[in-house]
């Protein structure tokens, strides 16, 4: 009976294990091992490379630049995204007669795909002569100049994450313990004080989740860049993962590609570990 039970368990787990092995462990390990080897564009191993792949990665001006670009994006995007989604969620945190309408509007971005938003933004933020400048009266070069392209990318990033973050935060507000709120109100807390000292801390968990989601998206962003700016102008939106895409698929530079792949996995692992330990500590 037990034996049968065991083999049955393995059978149930087999699909998951096979998929994880084939599309996660295997590529991660191969990438890691090959980061210490010299591999040609078509994948043939030519010899041992030691740390030279890592050395040429860090010596590459384009990589150094991509680190800066990614950092800039993270610093701009994560707080902006958190602020904007929190704002939307808190404005609609209480159900009222017409709240279903803004709720729908704020949730709707989940129904708009990445390529759709990217193409729309590409048109809206075309350059000096663009619809956005015409409406707002701004004089910004948007995707034609470095600062503007970064701004456009941040805005696009916010739209891509907006719907899901909003619904998580809004539902968190509404799941908050009503008795705590009532008690605080009895004590005379109201308005801003109630919001900042009671309501916001109550959804700390969910906020943290959305911040980590944003951080993850910010570190890994590449697809919107392919459509929106192709890393330009002048590499000003060439993030680390877009650089990886260029090196792996456009230049076929396996050394740099594998070294970077290994590096990103290590960084991701550190982030995940930090996140988990924080959660566990609570």
């Amino acid at each position: 009976m037990k034996r049968r039970n065991e083999s049955k368990a393995y059978l149930y787990l087999a699909p998951a294990v096979i998929l994880a092995a084939l599309f996660c462990w295997y590529p991660a390990i191969i990438g890691f091992v090959q980061s210490f080897l010299t591999v040609n564009a078509s994948g043939k191993v030519l010899g041992f490379a030691g740390l030279s792949n890592y050395r040429s990665l860090f010596a590459d001006k384009a990589f150094q630049n991509s680190l800066k670009v990614s950092l800039r994006f993270i610093v701009l995007f994560v707080p902006a995204n958190t602020f904007v989604t929190l704002l939307a969620a808190s404005m609609t945190r209480r159900k009222s007669r017409f709240s279903a309408i803004p709720e729908y509007v704020f949730f709707a971005p989940v129904a708009v795909s990445l390529s759709a938003y990217s193409l729309i933004m590409k048109d809206l933020f075309r350059g000096n002569a663009s619809v956005i400048n015409k409406i707002t009266g701004l004089k910004m070069g948007w995707i034609t100049e470095p600062a503007g392209a970064m701004a456009t990318l941040v805005i696009l990033g916010i739209f891509l994450d907006f719907g899901i973050d909003y619904i998580l935060l809004m539902c968190a507000f509404r799941s908050s313990d009503k008795s705590v709120l009532e008690a605080a109100r009895m004590d005379g807390a109201g308005g801003w004080r109630l919001f900042l000292q009671i309501e916001l801390p109550l959804i700390r968990e969910t906020t943290l989740v959305t911040i980590f989601l944003a951080l993850k998206d910010a570190i890994l962003i590449s697809a919107p860049i392919i459509i929106l700016t192709e890393g330009g102008p002048y590499r000003s939106t060439e993030t680390v993962m877009f650089y990886y895409y260029l090196e792996a698929f456009k230049s076929g530079n396996r050394g740099v590609q594998n070294a970077l792949s290994a590096l990103v996995i290590v960084i991701a692992a550190i982030f995940m570990a930090l996140y988990n330990s924080r959660r566990r500590a609570r």
């Binding site: 039970n5 787990l13 996995i265």
Partner: protein, 271 residues
Amino acid sequence: MKRKPIDIFRYYLRIVLLIAFSIVVAFPVLYMISSSLFSQRDFNKLRVLPTTPMWSNYIKALNHRYFSYYLVNSIGTSLLSAIIRTLVVIFASFALTHLQFRGKKLILSALVLTLFVPQEAILYQNYKTIANLGLLDSWTAIIAPGLFSAAQMLLLMGSFTAQGRDTYDAARMDGASDMRYIWSVLVPLSGPATLTIMIQTLITSFNSYLWPLLVTNKPKTRTIQIGITMLGFAESGETGAQMATLALITIPFLIILAFTKRRIENALIRR
């Protein structure tokens, strides 16, 4: 209770702000719909509303020779991944929560470890695997790497553990098979979690861009997300037709969302 004037002011201020915010958030989609009726001149003149609606943009979009392929591939692959991934995750979670076997801890940690490896970082190696298996340009290629998710497995395991093993043992006593137990007890009881997994997968899969771009070379195997960037409308001065295509694939989802919003909220709000 009589309201103080300051409160009334605040009340209206909030409504005005909310309306303004909603317009900003909805603007790109509204612009997409409006510009789907633009002539090229409207685009050049930076208009927000069309001078005269060009319905022909929609005809052009629908008549694009690959549009129907793109759509079928997108719907097909996202439905398949949603169903298969949910099944894979259900079986794995069931085994890990309900059965005793050797190496359980090891397998669980190994599966959870996949959380630490972002797909984006192993893009090339996965591409190589699919290419070596001769699977390029197939639905299998598009969906395969995304058929297992450790995050979703953990979510479901949480829900499965909550059901307790007692019910399972009782069901076994009554001679119910595992399959029967899973489908008539476990899954219905963890309905919201299962539904969340399916919807999540459906959306991510429908929206994925980079991976399908890499593994599809034939227009007839491309998904809509890749297709819309390769229609060539914008390059040949027919941006309106491009926007019409975007509208055609976005509006159905906006409608579905309007009907399912309440349900999703109910699943997410703890009371």
